[in-house]
Amino acid sequence: MNAVEASSLVRKFGDFTAVNGVDFEVQPGEIFGFLGPNGAGKSTTINMLCTMLKPTSGTARINGHDVVSDPSGVRQSIGIIFQDASLDDRLTGRENLQFHAMLYDVPRQTFVSRARDLLAMVDLTDKADGIVRTFSGGMKRRLEIARGLLHQPKVLFLDEPTIGLDPQTRRHIWQYLLKLREQQGVTMFMTTHYMEEAEHCNRIAIIDHGKIVAVDTPGGLKARVGGDIITVRTADNAAATARLKTVAGIEVRGGPAETLIVETTGGDRFVPRMMELLSGDGASIAVTSVSLSHPTLEDVFIKLTGHAIRAGEAESEMKSFVKMWRGSGRR
């Protein structure tokens, strides 16, 4: 059974279609990422999967429970880390965990031992009895991760889990998440618009304007862009171009600022060979610099959608849509 299954999922806000027919499935134990710009429909999708928002049409099942007909079944089997903090900041960390345990009907004894283990996992054992208001952003996030796991959900939803955190804290959070998958085999469904974050996923769905453009492993997606890019600077570009073409049949194109660009697969092995072609064996074209770059998910994104992941403006656009819709339709 798939951990998460969505088919033709649609959500409209008035005339605005936030999610426009999304299909995918997530296998148990997988980290599955939704990568896309703000406003692409990531949070709307996650809210439908968590039963916070009703789909306009289409269905989704979590651990076999339908999100529309069996929301309680879904809720019991998932944990959620929201994009914005959702802690009671007047209470202590431990009290926040305790409330969660009560809401999810975790027995008192079980709660005590689980809370101890989870707090240790997220390094909050010493801080657990402090009032949450005094916690840093990273501590709050870690507490939320611990809380989301208290009832041992099979699937953990993470909506932009590291948004607004500094790079070091972000790395820490990821250490916890990867440890979690290793130790407990929890399935994770996450949304992000950070490329580095998406790299940790087993599979990524690229989403733009409410539609999934591609689903693949990070490596598989990058392979779609083509090969590695090698940028060379030589003393004599014309001679270098000719030599590479005649001796090895390699196509070279001119790059910016007097450079040459070669696109190839397996760039790491290609560079030494190229050096030998240019400087060794009779030819003596001096190479002044070489740089090798692998395609990034950003490149993949640009190739698949025709634009870069833009931060900021789309989200506010989406939010004002939702506000308008709520304002007009709900009074």
């Binding site: 039963t51 009703k54 209470l91 999810y104």
Partner: protein, 262 residues
């Protein structure tokens, strides 16, 4: 069922825990009633005393009004915390939990009502200072009335707060509703001999029934029965019946509003 009871208890317990921790709020909530009683009340006392031929001390008259004020504002404040929780995220944590939203809403009503009742009990401590004599039976009855009145007002607040997205919106609603409701309730002045429009507005004002019942019950031992009956608006049984009806009348749509899924 057991789970939902536990969930309602959790929501209730959170309100109590937060109330107990907020010492500043408890003390400041005592400050406002004292201001009204001792400054406002003392200032108006001579004029009111002259009107009734010295039989009525205005501070005594005001005391149940102040009691109602403490309960009313605390109850509404508790309901506001829903909007607060929505803005600061905690509501989401509750909304995705595998518990019914009816249980959550009922827990919230119970929590708000309990906290407001506590606040009323604190104000009750001021009774001896303004010459209101209370017997044990009266205190018990007053606590019951305050709990009922607090339930009405918390449910009313939740009904309004359930769909509000921002604090500003809620505050506006409250400015337009809460203050008029309070002033029309007869908390600060007797509603005898007022113009007909005011009389009718006070009849549709839920706060009136809280103030009226609290007044009759709290002043029973301090004022002559004849004088008290001129101040009373309805028989106390009528007040209680109407408050029960209002509590149900507000709780049902409040729960429904709260439970609706987008």
């Amino acid at each position: 069922m057991r789970r939902n009871l536990k969930a309602a208890y959790t929501i209730w317990y959170r309100d109590i825990l937060r109330f107990g921790r907020d010492r500043v709020r408890i003390i400041s909530a005592l400050g406002q009633p004292m201001l009204y009683l001792f400054v406002f009340g003392t200032g108006l006392a001579p004029a009111m005393s002259a009107q009734t031929g010295g039989a009525l001390d205005f501070r005594q008259f005001m005391f149940p009004g102040i009691l109602a004020m403490a309960v009313l504002f605390t109850a509404i404040f508790s309901a506001v915390s829903i909007v607060w929780d929505r803005e600061f995220g905690f509501l989401k944590e509750v909304m995705v939990a595998p518990v019914s939203r009816t249980a959550v809403a009922l827990g919230k009503v119970a929590g708000g009502a309990t906290v407001a009742m506590f606040q009323g009990i604190i104000v009750l401590l001021l009774a001896p200072i303004v010459g209101v004599k209370l017997g044990i039976d009266q205190i018990v009855a007053l606590i019951g009335l305050m709990l009922l009145f607090a339930s009405v007002m918390t449910a009313f607040g939740i009904l309004i707060a359930a769909r509000q997205k921002t604090m500003e919106g809620f505050q506006m609603m409250m400015q337009f509703l809460l203050m008029p409701m309070f002033f029309l309730s007869g908390a600060f002045f007797p509603l005898r001999g007022v113009p007909l429009w005011m009389n009718w507005l006070s009849r549709i004002d839920p706060v009136t029934y809280g103030v009226d019942s609290l007044r009759q019950q709290s002043l029973k031992g301090s004022l002559p029965a004849g004088l008290l009956s001129t101040l009373a608006l309805h028989p106390i049984a009528t007040d209680v019946t109407i408050m029960f009806a209002l509590a149900v009348g507000f709780i049902v749509p409040a729960v429904w509003q709260f439970g609706r899924q987008e």
